[in-house]
């Protein structure tokens, strides 16, 4: 039905654009990771020194480990908050379902910066939370660790990504045919058994998608640490940011970026393999 000319017109422009303005930049990044900086200039001398530095200088590994820990925590907490919320909306919300759904996705559209800033004002030593705690006489002095710590970063990112995690889980739960749940109970399984044997397995693809999203995006986040992380809460992306900024070592920065890229792709690949195992052709 579609002529060759049609297909060419349709496929070429985006291919070309994406090729030149996306692939080429990514390739440049990749290539830079093998070069050097000498006397403030980038020298095109091919070597693996940057990658070696990553493994030998302890500070980089430290930050990387901290980043993975933070990303892992964010993923875990987002799931702990997002899954029950999705479950509640899908099975227990009755007529208010549509409204509640909109309520959940509204924050997704509110600026990342705005939400990060909100946490900044809440968590600071002069912030709202501390003010409230002292007002209610729960504490007598400002609690310090709330802001400018890994705790604050995890809190902020969990706040950002819980709605993201909610979405695919909710979508998956909605596709589970209700007769399956009735059948499970009819056959003698209690509601708890029904959840673990039927609902959870069938919602796995959504769960994995949400978790991957939260993990991968937290891994590469550099804004949350700048807003609320302080010195103890820097993540690997901040290292890259400074290498491209004040520390001026683009090749090393590129190498770290490539590592982040590899970590991201590995996570995605792992999820895809798991998802294949867990996705079942639904019968109409």
């Amino acid at each position: 039905m579609y002529s060759r000319a049609y297909k060419a017109i349709v496929a070429l422009p985006p291919l070309l654009w994406v090729g030149i303005f996306l692939m080429l930049p990514y390739a440049l990044m990749f290539v830079h990771s093998f070069w050097l900086v000498r006397d403030g200039f980038i020298v095109h001398q091919w070597n693996l020194g940057n990658y070696a530095a990553l493994f030998t200088r302890p500070v980089y590994l430290q930050v990387l480990m901290r980043t993975m820990r933070i990303a892992g925590s964010v993923t875990l907490f987002s799931l702990l908050l997002g899954y029950p919320l999705a479950y509640y909306l899908s099975f227990h919300s009755g007529v208010r379902k549509e409204f509640l759904y909109q309520l959940v996705i509204v924050p997704l559209w509110v600026s990342y910066l705005v939400r990060g800033y909100a946490w900044k004002t809440v968590l600071g030593s002069d912030g709202v939370l501390n003010g409230f705690l002292q007002y209610a006489h729960i504490t007598h002095a400002p609690v310090g660790f709330l802001l400018y710590s890994p705790f604050a970063v995890v809190l902020m990112l969990t706040h950002i990504y819980t709605p993201f995690v909610f979405l695919p889980i909710y979508a998956a739960l909605e596709t589970i045919p209700r007769p399956l749940i009735e059948a499970s109970q009819d056959l003698g399984a209690t509601p708890a058994k029904t959840f673990f044997r039927v609902i959870l397995p069938l919602s796995m693809p959504g769960l994995l998608a949400g978790a991957t999203f939260a993990f991968v995006l937290s891994l590469g986040d550099f804004l949350a640490p700048l807003l609320v992380g302080g010195a103890s809460g820097t993540m690997i992306a901040n290292v890259v940011q400074s290498l491209f900024g004040a520390a001026y070592d683009w090749p090393l920065g590129a190498a770290v970026s490539v590592c982040i890229l590899l970590l991201t792709l590995t996570s995605l690949f792992a999820t895809e393999t798991l998802e294949k195992r867990w996705s079942f052709k639904q019968m109409s």
């Binding site: 297909k7 985006p14 509640y88 559209w109 910066l113 819980t162 991968v216 491209f244």
Partner: protein, 266 residues
Amino acid sequence: MSAVTTTRRAPFLTAYAVAVFAFIYLPIVVLIAYSFNRDGVGGFPPRHFTLHWYERLFADGAIWNAVLNSLLVAAASVALALTLGLLAALALDRASFPGKALFRRLVLLPLILPGIITGLSLLMFVVFVGAPLSLLTVFFGHGTALISVATTELFAGLQKLDRKQEEASLDLGATPWQTFWRITLPNLKLSLIAAGLLIFTLSMDEIAVTFFLIGRDNTLPMEIWGRLRQGITPEINAISTLIFMVSVALISIWYRLRARTLRDAS
């Protein structure tokens, strides 16, 4: 007819759900409340109501310049992303060519890669080409990165299209070009608007890529970011509240459009 599982009460789960909702909304509520607080952003409880910060906001020229810049970049990004995204979606939906699977992956990359990587890669490209950093480079970054979003949304919209309509058009003698303008595009209208809204919002809020491509003229997020470095004032609360209001309005429109596309398709 609802099954036992939906009509049964579940008090713990309901309480938990309420708590999660509270967690999601509390910071925003605090933000809005304190934009009216005379005594600044900290402390508890907020005492004196004032519109002073909003007055300062409306007199603040730099902010409104930044808003204008953001609008320009967003509008241009929507145009670029929708055009190329539509073509890419058409290609993925209808054409088969060598490397199609790879193409699909590549187009979606900016969606899943952390923004800093895309931003830095584009910075390297700009430097490589020797161009100065400006709003143009920002537009470049947004438009290119957001093609992924456009492609995903429009692809979904194309899938829901009734192919028979196009076949009928061709059968009646219209050329593929005419069919595209008279049948395909009008049917995609709702999808296009919804995708456009989404891209617009994402561009207005974009920081990660913008961070590295910005020149002298600030976009709104970058302007706010700069202020944050200097210190917190409730003026930022005020602009944030306004951003929140606009976002809520936009999402209501987007949601109704989405609901209509789903309804029309069934």
